[in-house]
């Protein structure tokens, strides 16, 4: 959490919307631990990480959706055969990421 606090503060000061993604579950090998966070602003800025770069792109889009819709979602990422190269984890692990707008 510490690593994204300063960025979130800056974005909020600029009046931008913010969403936070948190790793809530990991199975198998995964680069980031439960509790790892990534924050995204409506202006397109990003801080922190939830994987080794494998799913940040997809999570970024989900964060933008969360800011726009105001709704939180639980996402699951894993190696899913043909989609593996799109948003899969090369390490073969599986993770769950909770994405929520910062409205609390």
């Amino acid at each position: 959490m510490q690593e994204v606090l300063a960025d979130i503060e800056r974005w909020r000061a600029r009046g931008e919307g913010v969403a936070i993604a948190t790793v809530v579950k990991t199975m198998g090998s995964s680069p980031r631990q439960v509790g790892a966070k990534m924050a995204v602003s409506s202006g397109g800025s990003m801080a922190g990480s939830v994987s080794g770069g494998c799913i940040e792109g997809a999570v970024f889009e989900e964060c933008q959706d969360a800011i726009a819709s105001g709704r939180a979602r639980l996402l699951r990422f894993g190696v899913a055969d043909e989609t593996a190269w799109e948003v899969g984890l090369a390490c073969g692990g599986e993770i769950e990421v909770f994405v929520e707008p910062l409205t609390w």
Binding site: M1, Q2, T22, V34, A72, R73, L74, E100, W104
Partner: protein
């Protein structure tokens, strides 16, 4: 605008106060919203709500026990009376890492650094003497500061700080103690025989430290286990630090 839960959380993290954040991440059944939040303090008091009093009460209890071990995980809670309704609540512990500040880049500090890391402490070694405080001797420390200890410690000590003063030299020890004893640091200990300690108390009193602050000082440092070697002395110091860390008061 009222202070939201996020701002309260941010303030607690910044001020290094332990707190747990519970979030509903999945729900079976209605009455509870995904994203609902509850902040729980170590004493069991809380702010916010997950939507149901019964749920809040169960999560508070789980959060307090997770906070004690600095753990973060998801708990599945079946709502009372209705077997179908299971709520997944992600509980995150935000607990500052305890930091052990060692004043004096001496042999005992080297042993203490190694053992403290095993117990999960961040380790900071401070010495004004550049010949002692070398990267070669303290490559295993998280931070090595070559400076006068009072300058290095000023403003840094919090409730999760522990200070071991080890130089044997009043020129270095006394300034460190003058900063550490009135600070919120959880533990302050100083190396030296009972005779050395008696002289130290006289000097610190003359410097204006209050009896209340002097009473906080653990000296001679460490639990009495008959330690002789630097490694054994490190064990006795850490045992005393663990005792202070686990003490119920405060």
């Amino acid at each position: 605008m009222r202070m939201g839960l996020y701002d309260t959380l941010k303030q607690a993290i910044t001020e290094e106060r332990p707190v747990a954040l519970a979030t509903v991440i999945a729900v079976a059944g209605d009455g509870v919203t995904v994203g609902a939040k509850l902040l729980v303090w170590p004493d069991g008091s809380s702010e916010g709500s997950l939507g149901l009093q019964a749920l809040d009460a169960q999560v508070q209890a789980s959060a307090v026990s997770l906070l004690e071990s600095a753990a973060t995980r998801t708990v599945e809670i079946a709502l009372p009376g209705e077997t179908e309704r299971v709520v997944s609540v992600f509980i995150e512990s935000f607990v500052p890492a305890p930091t052990l500040y060692m004043v004096g880049a001496v042999h005992i500090a080297s042993a203490l650094t190694a053992l403290a890391k095993v117990l999960g402490f961040r380790t900071v070694v401070i010495d004004a003497r550049a010949a002692f405080a070398t990267d070669e001797r303290f490559s295993h420390a998280d931070e090595l500061i070559v400076a006068w200890p009072d300058e290095a410690l000023a403003g840094k000590l919090t409730h999760s700080s522990y200070v071991a003063v080890l130089t044997h030299d009043p020129k270095l020890d006394d300034p460190a103690l003058k900063v550490a004893l009135p600070s919120p640091a959880r533990y302050v200990g100083a190396l030296g025989s009972p005779t050395t300690h008696a002289k130290r108390l006289v000097r610190l009193r003359a410097e204006g430290l209050s009896e209340e602050h002097l009473a906080r000082l653990h000296a001679p440092i460490g639990l009495k286990i008959g330690a002789k070697t630097p490694d054994e002395i490190a064990v006795s110091i850490l045992a005393e630090i663990v005792q202070a860390k686990r003490a119920k008061s405060q």
